[in-house]
């Protein structure tokens, strides 16, 4: 068994004991918080059913769910560096590429599974508020997969580059807040473009926009070739983040 498979198996062995709790918390509770509070309460502010279907707002909040889910997996890259340095041993046995890619694949697969579960819970809980009459199942599953991959790659890149737990605050406040708030989190791209056209154009450089617009397109339709363009773009962003992440991590490990 090579090191890549070995790492994946080890992660799975640790993770599988927690599956019932994870499904309950990461799927059930997250939907309750994001979906119910935003989906039900935001329309009270005067938005007609929360700007079109209130489910649109739920999808916006979904991105925070993805990031907070992936942090539990990425944190190890930072905390291990400050204490046990177990990853140094793994990297010596194989390479930084192998370990990082195994971690990325594991994060992506788990996040994909959880995000599908999240959607099922959302539909059950929000019912008619999450309008799925125009939902395209295959594009949605592909979009959730690519979103999981991109979010995992971005988060792993950040955590691989951070050298201290104190810097976690910076990751949230300097990277995640602008990325999500100006990435179509509550206000879709067309609104931003209508209010500030220059900002709308600048948003083309934000990968979160493609995730959210792609998910909205897959859920509310109509699915066009633009969706596949988003998928290719997100795949490229994910690869770029993974490459930079590997180099940053390698440099961090070698720095001592």
């Amino acid at each position: 068994m090579n090191m890549f498979t070995h790492i994946l198996m080890r992660e799975w062995t640790v993770y599988k004991r927690r599956i019932p709790y994870v499904v309950l918390t990461d799927c059930g509770l997250r939907v309750l918080f994001f979906g119910m509070v935003h989906g039900y309460l935001l329309p009270a502010t005067g938005m007609p059913q929360g700007y079109g279907p209130s489910g649109m707002l739920y999808i916006g909040t979904f991105i925070f769910g993805l990031f907070s889910m992936v942090i539990a997996f990425s944190q190890e890259l930072l905390t291990d560096y400050e204490s046990d340095r177990h990853y140094d041993y793994l990297v010596m046995q194989s390479s930084a590429h192998t370990v990082f890619c195994a971690k990325l694949l594991f994060c992506t697969l788990i996040l994909w599974f959880l995000s599908i579960g999240n959607f099922i819970f959302a539909k059950l809980l929000l019912s008619h508020w999450l309008d799925t009459t125009h939902l395209s199942l295959v594009p949605l599953i592909i979009m959730l997969g690519i979103a999981s991959y991109t979010v995992s790659a971005i988060t792993l890149l950040c955590y691989a580059s951070l050298t201290s737990v104190v810097q976690v605050r910076m990751f949230w406040r300097r990277i995640l807040v602008p990325l999500t708030f100006l990435g179509g989190y509550l206000a879709p791209w067309e609104i931003v473009y209508k209010v500030f056209p220059a900002l709308g154009i600048a948003m083309y450089f934000n990968p979160i926009v493609y995730i959210l617009e792609g998910l909205r397109m897959a859920v509310f339709g109509p699915v066009t070739t633009l969706l596949y363009l988003y998928i290719i773009l997100l795949g490229a962003v994910g690869c770029l983040c993974a490459l930079v992440g590997i180099h940053a991590w390698r440099a961090k490990l070698d720095s001592l």
Partner: protein
């Protein structure tokens, strides 16, 4: 007296470290306030939101923006408990457990407050047109902000000492911090939430964050639409005591004292 001096020096040391981060906090505060302004004052009204919700949402976001800061501080405590055990050294100092835990909570509260001031300052400039100007409102606002942060820090410190590191890593966000944010009237004021979902809004009343956010909304807008400060301050005080004694209990249990 010796115990008290030791406590003051520990808090001073924490504040000294925080002081070196102030410029970073200023940058982060500017970024956050800019994002809030664009979203709540520009984009959401363009989507049909009534403008009276703008300051209410800004206040809610101010609090939710502080949660990652609190999480970052909690993470340092959790890692220390699991790995470095610097806390063992603190425990050998001539200082009681009650003061050790008070130092943890107070340092975290003041640190978060220092981090908060730049967001509030930049936000006040940007949201100027939506806010009320009245003498005395700043001091009330700061009292509510301090009590809210103290209560949240105390409750979350109790959680960190009570549960294992694995639990903290996996569930702190979803079981500890998210209920505080999302069931705390972060987006929609309590009365509006009650109009739409009465049972859910009743549940919100159990959350100290609800009183903190509503109190701040009440101060900055001067509107009777929000829960009045005369109710918010006593409830926040009560939650601060509950959180503090909970944290003390968890600390004693964890440290085997």
């Amino acid at each position: 007296m010796r115990e008290f001096i030791c406590f003051i020096r520990l808090v001073q040391r924490d504040l000294y470290i925080l002081k070196s981060y102030f410029f970073q906090f200023l940058i982060e505060g500017g970024i956050a306030a800019g994002c809030f302004y664009l979203l709540y004052a520009c984009f959401l009204p363009a989507m049909g939101m009534t403008p009276r919700f703008v300051p209410a949402m800004f206040m809610g976001s101010l609090v939710s923006n502080m949660i990652p800061v609190i999480f970052s501080s909690l993470q340092q405590v959790a890692i220390d408990l699991e790995k470095h055990r610097y806390i063992e050294y603190i425990a050998t100092l001539p200082i009681s457990n009650a003061l050790i835990i008070l130092r943890f909570i107070l340092s975290m509260t003041l640190g978060t407050l220092i981090c908060w001031i730049p967001v509030c300052g930049c936000g006040a400039l940007l949201f100027h047109a939506f806010l009320r100007e009245s003498p005395g409102s700043l001091s009330t606002f700061l009292i509510i902000a301090f009590l809210l942060l103290f209560a949240v820090c105390a409750i979350t410190t109790a959680i960190v000492f009570f549960f294992s590191y694995t639990w903290f890593n996996s569930y702190m966000w979803v079981c500890g911090l998210m209920p505080l944010i999302f069931f705390g009237c972060e987006i929609v004021p309590w009365r509006d939430a009650y109009r739409v979902a009465p049972y859910l809004a009743t549940l919100f009343l159990l959350n100290p964050v609800t009183y903190g956010i509503e109190g701040m909304r009440s101060v900055i807008t001067g509107s009777p639409h929000y829960i009045p400060t005369s109710v918010c301050i006593p409830v926040l005080l009560l939650w601060s005591f509950i959180g503090y004694f909970g944290a003390l209990y968890s600390f004693n249990k964890r440290m085997g004292r």
